[in-house]
């Protein structure tokens, strides 16, 4: 990958992070009437998916979709305006956040109901097959939604009807405020996918460059094999905080679900966690600290100019 492309991708990670930090500041200030599910920590897969998509491809999202919408839109303003329910918004103030989609940007559908987007993506893929358009349908879901019957049903239908679909499972191990181990047994996704004849791939570590390469391979394979592939992506939804719990001696961790992140702020270097859980931190594998900070300043300046602040 050439240096300019590498820089462009790093700037995208930073743009998605800064965009969300701006939204969070406005959220904290009480400017939104709608619920918004921030996805800080999920930027690497969103940037990689955006780079993988061509004009024929179609993206189907869940309620936590800000990262993909920012990636596909390429700018913050229309997304922000949608959240502010302005007519200039990405969906003309018709959809708000949880259902935010934009056909012009290849985002065909987004659902606020857990698992509901999987059947719709299956139908989209069937339509692509009938039209012989050659486009790839990508559907994004999570570790909570795979508990729904629609996940199993949709994979079954996709494989039974030779539909090549990329099913991305963003696994942050949380569903609202319960961890996987607090609500269910582990699901062996490789075995579940294999039992239905679907492929399985996994990504973790938030190295966006590795993600980009992997998605290229997976896309090629899906279009050749005409069968679904489950891509599990380990993510950490960043920005959680601790609160006093009178019933317990120790503080209680609040995992970010919907709503503002009270202890996360817009700063010049937008790293939230000093570990590979944070895609911004993970960029340091590829750039010097000074180089990244310079890029960061450029991106922040550009975003502030865009929103007139």
């Amino acid at each position: 990958m050439g240096e300019s492309k590498k820089v462009k991708i790093a700037k995208e990670i930073l743009r998605l992070r800064f965009g969300q930090l701006v939204v969070n500041e406005k959220y904290k200030a009480g400017q939104f009437k709608i619920p918004i599910h921030l996805a800080m920590g999920h930027e690497a897969i969103a940037v990689a998916v955006d780079l993988m998509m061509d004009e024929k491809d179609k993206l189907v999202l869940s309620h936590r979709n800000i990262h993909y919408n920012l990636a596909r839109t390429g700018t913050l303003r229309p997304v922000l305006d949608e959240y502010l329910l302005k007519k200039e918004g990405l969906a003309y103030a018709e959809l708000g956040s949880m259902n935010l989609a934009s056909e012009e940007k290849g985002v065909i559908y987004a659902s606020s109901i857990l698992g509901n987007n999987l059947p719709v993506a299956t139908g989209l893929a069937l339509a692509e097959k009938v039209k012989r358009s050659g486009g790839l349908v990508i559907v994004v879901t999570g570790d909570g939604a795979i508990e729904e019957g629609a996940f199993y049903e949709s994979l079954l239908f996709m494989k039974s009807n030779a539909l090549g679909v990329l099913v991305i499972i963003e696994n942050n191990r949380w569903s609202m405020h319960t961890k996987i181990e607090e609500r269910r047994t582990e699901i062996d996704l490789p075995k579940l996918a294999a039992s239905l004849g679907a492929g399985y791939e996994k990504l973790d570590g938030n190295d966006v460059y590795r993600y980009v390469e992997k998605l290229k391979e997976v896309k090629k394979k899906i279009l050749e094999d005409k069968k679904p592939v489950v891509l599990e992506v380990n993510v950490t939804t960043l920005g959680g905080w601790y609160v006093e719990d009178k019933e317990r001696k120790e503080k209680r961790f609040i995992h970010p679900h919907a709503g503002p992140l009270p202890e996360t702020s817009l700063v010049e270097w937008p790293e939230i966690e000093r570990s590979a859980n944070d895609p911004v931190f993970a960029l340091q594998e590829h750039f010097s600290s000074d180089g990244l900070k310079k890029l960061s300043q450029e991106v922040l300046k550009s975003i502030k100019e865009e929103i007139g602040e």
Binding site: G123, E128, K131
Partner: protein, 310 residues
């Protein structure tokens, strides 16, 4: 010709002449073909027919996905209660899709389980319940005229709707009744015009209304006969004008839920008309007997009604 054979014949004509159409559902091209509903159906150029797995939630969403992708489809469903498994799709997904001018058509065609011997599911016979969850255009088929007009107008037209057929009527000869009027939306049909009484049928009760009409006619009582084939709000004016003339109203609704479509009409007509005789024929639900296997027929005392209006 039997009710189900006639509907199958019209469906066959319509699907065969439609290119790029996807027909899907459980056993639609196998076994009894949903008791004959989908027997021998063909699709036009580029279309496909899929015998699906038993995954009703995904199947319900599938049609919306195809609609978003510009492909028209029909989901044939063996029992209306199966649609309860896809209710998020007919509310949330439909509400997303309906915001824009539709490019394609999506029709769900369920069989309304109104045979009492089929068990507990037959309590769910009110087609209006399912259509009202998101103000979905919904149509019931009760005779030759409404079958032809509803299927031809709506089956593959851009947009989403549910068209229900009544299982109780499958083996009956299809009623061939001359039409006086139907509105453009095919939600209201009038089959007779009289000056002595107004009969208004809801859900799948048209055969009862037709029988009553004939019994009244034998006694020299000319009545108007309407069938309301939809649950979404419709203009009642046509019926109200008729009731204002006859001042004798008979409402028949064979549905079993608390949310009957006829209630909205009754409220409107009582507000606007001075009525001499008002006869409401609805289900009487007593104890749990209605949940046990039973003949599931609406109890209607034709003789008493005829005597009252004589």
């Amino acid at each position: 010709m039997k009710y189900i054979q006639y509907i199958n014949e019209i469906l066959g004509r319509k699907t065969a002449e439609t290119d790029g159409l996807v027909l899907f559902g459980q056993n639609i091209a196998a076994g009894s073909h949903i008791s004959g509903l989908t027997k021998g159906l063909r699709v036009g150029k580029g279309g496909i027919i899929i015998n699906t797995p038993n995954s009703e939630n995904t199947l319900t969403g599938l049609g919306f996905g195809m609609m978003l992708g510009g492909v028209s489809s029909i989901f044939f469903m063996k029992q209306l209660d199966f649609l309860l498994l896809g209710i998020d799709q007919i509310v949330d997904t439909y509400n997303f899709v309906r915001r824009k001018e539709p490019k394609a058509s999506y029709t769900i065609m369920p069989v309304i389980s109104d045979l009492g011997y089929h068990g507990l599911q037959s309590s769910f016979n009110n087609f209006g319940d399912i259509a009202s969850v998101a103000r979905i255009p919904g149509f019931t088929i009760t005779n030759k005229i409404d079958a032809e007009e509803i299927i031809n107008a709506h089956l593959v037209s851009p947009g989403f709707r549910i068209i229900g057929v009544g299982q109780r009527l499958f083996g009956d000869e299809i009623l061939d009744v001359p039409k006086v009027y139907s509105n453009n939306e095919k939600t209201l049909f009038q089959y007779a015009e009289g000056d002595k009484a107004t009969i208004v049928c809801f859900n799948l009760s048209f055969p009862y209304g037709w029988e009553l009409y004939n019994k009244l006619k034998e006694r020299g009582i000319d009545s108007s006969l309407f069938s309301v084939n939809s649950v979404t709000p419709i203009g009642w004016q046509k019926i109200i004008e008729d009731v204002s003339e006859t001042r004798n109203l008979i409402v028949i609704d064979d549905s079993k839920s608390e949310n009957s479509s006829c209630d909205n009409f009754i409220m409107n007509v009582l507000e606007k008309c001075q009525i001499k005789n008002k006869i409401i024929v609805k289900r009487e639900i007593k104890g749990n007997e209605w949940l046990y296997p039973n003949p599931d027929l609406l109890q209607i005392d034709y003789e008493t009604i005829v005597n009252k209006l004589s």
